[in-house]
């Protein structure tokens, strides 16, 4: 019985992807269209292009920029968010300014930051930081504002103040919102990594893929598109695993509240 349900479940999970993959494979099998090469060719190129030295010269630098920028954005966003969220006056003064900054579509920052930082790695990291800190910052502010008043009073009567209040009460109760902001920021970070490399760079994933496209190396280009897709998927999967670990208490609480 359990074997059957297991088989059924894997069938459901893998069924449609397998069908779609097969359609793609057979529909393009004999393709002579220059722009849409057979999937077999693309997959063949995939191994060839992305495993050799390009892994070190393009994929790794891109990932390093992405992670550096993202982690810096998390640090800055949460730090500023705590300050802004805990001080009513600061929040009132800064809110419209922050809303304006958040509303600026992040890609337009690329040309602006190029003015300051040239086209090196620093530029790309700054672009990523300045694009993805806003969702984290604003979500942290919201989370800090919404700290449960009873918990807050309890902390005060037990004399929990200063850093331990920050750590045990404020950060902990704001963490679901912070994580939401971080999830939004992750997809922005990937977009900005690719765009900043497409715009001006000498290596990296975005740069290489655009080079392939400009030199009409079509199967290589498609393999790059596939790689970017896989990267996006893998990062969101990793994020979800991390989220489930960090926010296990919160998801449990929600479940308990929903079915008392």
């Amino acid at each position: 019985m359990t074997v059957l349900t297991l088989a059924r479940r894997t069938g459901l999970v893998l069924g449609l992807p397998a069908v779609l993959f097969a359609i793609w494979w057979f529909a393009t099998a004999g393709s002579t269209d220059f722009y849409v090469p057979p999937l077999s060719t693309i997959l063949g190129k995939f191994g060839e292009v992305w495993t050799g030295e390009r892994l070190l010269s393009d994929v790794v630098p891109s990932l390093v920029r992405l992670l550096t920028g993202y982690l810096l954005a998390v640090a800055v966003g949460v730090g500023l968010g705590l300050v802004v969220g805990m001080h009513r006056g600061v929040r009132d003064v800064l809110e419209p300014v922050l809303e304006l900054f958040r509303a600026i579509p992040p890609p337009v920052l690329v040309p602006v930051i190029m003015l300051f930082a040239g086209i090196g790695d620093t530029m790309k990291v700054i672009v990523i930081v300045s694009g993805c800190m806003w969702p984290i910052l604003l979500n942290t502010v919201e989370g800090v504002r919404a700290v449960d008043e009873v918990l807050s009073d309890t902390c005060r009567s037990y004399g929990i103040t200063g850093p331990s209040r920050l750590w045990h009460l404020v950060l902990r109760s704001a963490s679901p919102q912070i994580v939401t902001g971080m999830r939004q920021a992750l997809s922005i970070a990937i977009i900005l990594m690719v765009i900043s490399e497409m715009f001006a760079a000498s290596n990296g994933l975005g740069f290489t893929i655009v080079q392939f496209q400009r030199s009409f190396a079509i199967p290589e280009m498609w393999s790059g598109v596939l790689l970017l897709g896989l990267l996006g998927f893998a990062l969101s999967l990793l994020f979800r695993v991390a989220e489930n670990r960090v926010l296990a208490w919160y998801h449990g609480l929600r479940r308990a509240q929903r079915n008392p």
Binding site: V93, P105, V108
Partner: protein
């Protein structure tokens, strides 16, 4: 504590410090704060302008990179007098609006179809989870090859990015249907159209609205990205041209325009959401607060 919300009582009357009276005192203070908040916000914006004016003048940042606010203002004023700017704005808004409309219609239709049949939901779940996080900028080279700098390449990126936002929200909404309402509809022998109209749609509408709001923002980002990177006509392209020709104040003026556009999109989306959901619990509670 019966002090009405409009009386500005600055010193708290004795006895409001503790007990239930404190709540009323809080309300007075809150009303006062509410009047003060926009003023503070304006002060913040004014502070930003002053900072932008002063920083280049005292030499903290070179005026070559960050021109003073007055110069940005002049560039913006000049921009507003140009026909090319308004054409570009029109191009951007066309790409955004068309892309968003296609994504919303497709997302709602697909969401309702998939969401109303548990089998379809189970079969498609893994595919949706795989396709959704794929960054739409990965499609840029494909869009360039297939459509060049035409409107279609912009639309491909915009629709791909915003479709998932809508679809996922619609699916969540369809799942949220109250079983009691569903059973009631069945015992009144409502037809399938009636069930969709009176049970499913009201439940899913708040989710749809959230999806549309998120999609509106994402669509704007992707429209401008396409213009910036691919070179389709629009604000993003104007920005790229200004940057390569070294017209720095113009770059900042255009960034400001895109920011204001973003604020406008957000405000309009929220207003529509509030209108469409004025009957909903979340909005009514918000109004009371």
């Amino acid at each position: 504590m019966s002090a009405s919300g409009s009386t500005p009582v600055l010193t708290k009357p004795a006895g409001t410090a503790t007990g239930p009276g404190g709540v009323g005192g809080g309300r007075v203070r809150r009303t006062l704060d509410r009047a003060r908040t926009p003023l503070r916000g304006l002060a913040g914006l004014a502070g930003l302008v002053v900072l932008l004016e002063v920083l280049p003048h005292i030499g903290v940042v070179s005026a070559d990179y960050l021109p003073p606010a007055s110069e940005m203002g002049r560039a913006l004023w000049q921009l507003l007098g140009e026909d090319a700017f308004w054409t570009a704005l029109g191009d951007t808004l066309t790409g955004w609006g068309l892309g968003l409309a296609i994504a919303v219609v497709a997302g709602v239709v697909a969401g309702v179809v998939i969401g109303s049949a548990p089998v379809l939901r189970a079969v498609t779940a893994s595919t949706i989870e795989f396709l959704r996080p794929i960054p739409s900028v990965a499609l840029i080279p494909v869009a360039v090859l297939l459509y060049g700098t035409d409107l279609e390449s912009k639309l491909l990126l915009v629709v791909y990015a915003s479709f998932w936002q809508v679809l996922v929200q619609v699916l969540a909404g369809m799942q949220d249907v109250d079983p009691v309402a569903e059973d009631t509809a069945r015992s009144y022998r409502m037809g399938s159209w009636g069930r969709v109209r009176y049970v499913l749609w009201p439940t899913a509408l708040p989710y749809v609205m959230t999806g549309v709001r998120l999609a509106a923002t994402v669509a704007l980002v992707l429209t401008i990205t396409a213009e910036l990177v691919i070179g389709s006509p629009g604000l993003g392209n104007q920005l790229a041209v200004a940057q390569t020709s070294g017209a720095v104040p113009r770059v900042y003026a255009l960034v400001l325009v895109t920011g204001l556009l973003g604020v406008a999109v957000n405000l309009v989306a929220r207003a529509i959401e509030r209108r469409a959901l004025h009957w909903h619990q979340s909005m009514r509670r918000e109004g009371q607060r």
